[in-house]
């Protein structure tokens, strides 16, 4: 059950990220469908729409489509109870007919959790390929559809070599005969599907390529470095860096992410691709130090690696100049603040229990 303090917490985040609620006036009295609506993105989009409805006195309706509505109701009961939200329990692969009043679609279904991809590779491919096709097929039958935002992934860039930051025109290599590329290849074919539906059925599709995020609703048990560092830190350490500590990442805060997605829904160019992420790059070693210093300086940081040195450095940092300029968005949360707020939210929410 979410406390008032936690509700106010995310409200304040949305207030900071959404500097101009009026910029969403075209969404007033409109209906938005979010597939994957009960996940990290869905929750943050619901928070942002809630904020906009409340502060600008709009009437934006949300349909949140997901596989586990009961879990959503428990985790975010304050959102589940909102009158502007309708919950639809359905597997995205089985979508046939959608409510006809839907004007906008954010297609965010499918887990980015690599544990699922390697354990269930065929379901992963089905979810992204068949799921995208099901949604786009259903979209062709909507009478008043205005825009679709397809959530792709930075993984479609493949191996990026020394390219950093990564711009939207970069095309890296992917080994198709590899279990670990199941997700990336599925996301690539999903983007190609979008191009086909845009061309053949004239669907107004905008593609966003998300990088890494942090903030409330980000499950700390997910297998990503920043999540695990924060969890290890809250548990009292040690913070464990697994693999190359020089690996470089960047993290966009959840409320900024949802504001940018809604801006793409309103102002994104049909047929355009935009990176969705933070440009503030940081190595994993520095990230661990930052998190340790915010929780307790005495927390030990240990590195565990298969090799003494690496010939390849993974740098996954987006060039965000296109989205920042075209959609007039900005990062409102510096990494220090993002980390600090994530730690506080998890402590308030008792997401990590020290034993």
């Amino acid at each position: 059950m979410m406390t008032e303090a936690l509700k106010n917490f995310t409200f304040e985040d949305c207030k900071r990220s959404c500097m101009h609620p009026d910029s969403f006036s075209s969404l007033n009295d409109q209906s938005i469908l979010v597939t994957g609506g009960t996940g990290f993105m869905g929750k943050w989009i619901a928070e942002m729409v809630s904020y906009v409805n409340e502060t600008a006195n709009f009437n934006i309706k949300l349909y949140l489509l997901g596989r586990d509505i009961a879990k959503f109701k428990v985790e975010v009961s304050h959102l589940a109870q909102k009158s502007f939200i309708t919950l639809i329990e359905q597997d995205v692969r089985n979508v046939r007919d959608l409510p006809t009043d839907i004007n906008y679609i954010i297609h965010a279904a499918g887990s980015p959790d690599h544990r699922d991809h390697v354990s269930q590779p065929l379901r992963t491919i089905e979810t992204f390929y068949k799921g995208t096709q099901s949604v786009l097929d259903a979209a062709t039958r909507l009478p008043d559809l205005k825009r679709i935002v397809h959530i792709s992934s930075h993984q479609i860039y493949g191996t990026n070599g020394l390219e950093s930051p990564i711009g939207e025109n970069f095309i890296g290599k992917l080994e198709p005969n590899s279990l670990s590329n199941t997700y990336a290849e599925s996301k690539r074919i999903s983007e190609t599907l979008c191009s086909a539906y845009r061309n053949q059925f004239k669907l107004p599709i905008v593609v966003l390529r998300p990088f890494a995020f942090i903030g409330p609703y980000q499950d700390l048990e997910k297998p990503w470095a920043i999540n695990n560092f924060i969890r290890d830190g809250i548990l009292g350490g040690p913070i464990r860096i697994l693999g190359n500590g020089s690996t470089v990442r960047s993290y966009l805060y959840g409320s900024d992410m949802s504001y940018w997605i809604l801006k793409a829904l309103v102002n994104g160019g049909v047929g355009e691709n935009y990176n969705l992420g933070s440009s503030e790059a940081i190595s994993l070693v520095d990230l661990a130090k930052k998190i340790s210093s915010q929780i307790n300086n005495s927390i030990e940081i240990v590195s565990k690696s298969s090799k003494e040195s690496y010939t390849y450095l993974s740098r996954l940092v987006p060039d965000t100049s296109k989205i920042v300029k075209s959609l007039e968005v900005n990062e409102t949360s510096a990494l220090d603040d993002s980390i600090s707020r994530t730690i506080i939210w998890n402590q308030l929410n008792k997401k990590v229990i020290k034993k």
């Binding site: 390697v118 190359n244 565990k304 690696s305």
Partner: protein
């Protein structure tokens, strides 16, 4: 560059196979204290097949898990307490929570070499509790290097901080070890480890080949006390690693003393490579089968070497101990 090798010592776990899981609390206390004094980094304790495995199927242990772990915990101060966990034998609710509450520091979650998927929940749970979690692939001679890489990568994603491959049948030659460890080191982010068995007399040579190929974790037991022909003999391993310039953090004399104590206090007999162990290694049969094969073969008067050959053909794995009797019956039928 000076290379640190992390040593995990399963004398009180793999060694339990050698005595049909009959190690007593007193014996556990004596060796744990000696290993701790020697500065062994991780002391693994439990039933031979790991936490929750005591059963009619694979053998009942003399002491229950709680007694074994509480005893070891009391006698370890510097050394970390480790356990071997095979999901299925060990459940999170019934076994793992209890073990972590007793104070287990290191959990090694193991699966057959092609079934890493079953380790996801256990590895995730251990990481959520802030403990050290490693992935272990068993019977790895049965899978190619590329398959092992795929399975190990799954464990890495599930939260494993290192991946150990086991030569559970003692079937490897150094060239096999080199091929597999090199592939894993090249394709994993986390450290790679090796657990040897000595059926073909290769345990030390294979362990050294592993570190020379990039492994950073090695298992070894006092006097090689372990299933079948035993494991890599830890006091020898420490000596050879030191001679080669590796650091283990173990006091060499302390380790020699611990091995002497282990020989005197916990071993009915020092592991030797018996004739049937050689056949077992050549056939690629899990070393944990040794006691069962000897007992059943004797009972039905069949040549246990034939039993190993047949088990090898059937590609049996740990947990399929009940097939031994089926194989013996077939041999008797064919004899007629």
């Amino acid at each position: 560059m000076i290379k640190q090798i992390l040593i995990s010592d399963p004398t009180l776990r793999d060694g339990n196979h050698a005595v049909a899981h009959q190690l007593s609390a007193k014996q556990i206390a004596i060796y744990a204290e000696a290993a701790d004094k020697a500065g062994v980094p991780i002391v693994e304790v439990g039933h031979g097949n790991g936490l929750g495995a005591s059963s009619m199927q694979v053998g009942l242990s003399l002491e229950d898990d709680v007694t074994m772990l509480e005893t070891a915990r009391k006698h370890l101060s510097k050394s970390k307490l480790g356990i071997h966990v095979i999901p299925g034998f060990a459940t999170i609710k019934r076994d793992l929570i209890k073990a972590l509450d007793i104070g287990v520091d290191v959990v090694r979650v193991a699966s057959h070499c092609t079934e890493a998927d079953i380790t996801q929940r256990h590895l995730g749970f251990v990481r959520e509790r802030g403990k050290e979690a490693y992935g272990v692939l068993m019977m790895t001679h049965m899978a190619s290097a590329s398959t092992l890489v795929e399975e190990a990568q799954k464990m890495e994603l599930y939260g494993a901080e290192g991946i150990i491959i086991m030569d559970s049948a003692g079937a490897y030659l150094p060239s096999d070890v080199e091929e597999k460890i090199t592939a894993l080191v090249n394709n994993l982010k986390v450290p790679v480890g090796f657990h040897a068995h000595n059926n073909l007399g290769m345990a030390i040579a294979n362990s050294i080949t592993a570190v020379e190929s990039g492994a950073k974790i090695l298992d070894g037991t006092a006097r090689g006390f372990g299933a079948g022909a035993g494991n890599a003999q830890l006091e020898v391993l420490v000596a050879v690693l030191e001679k080669m310039g590796y650091i283990t953090g173990i006091d060499f004399y302390g380790m020699l003393d611990a091995s002497d104590i282990a020989e005197r206090e916990i071993m009915p007999q020092i592991p030797v490579i018996k004739s049937e162990s050689i056949v077992s290694g050549l056939s690629g049969v899990f070393s944990g089968f040794a006691k069962h094969v000897t007992r059943i073969s004797k009972e039905y008067d069949v040549d246990q070497r034939d039993v190993y050959r047949e088990l090898g053909k059937r590609k049996v794995v740990g947990g399929q101990e009940d097939i031994i009797i089926e194989v013996v019956m077939d041999l008797i039928r064919n004899r007629k």
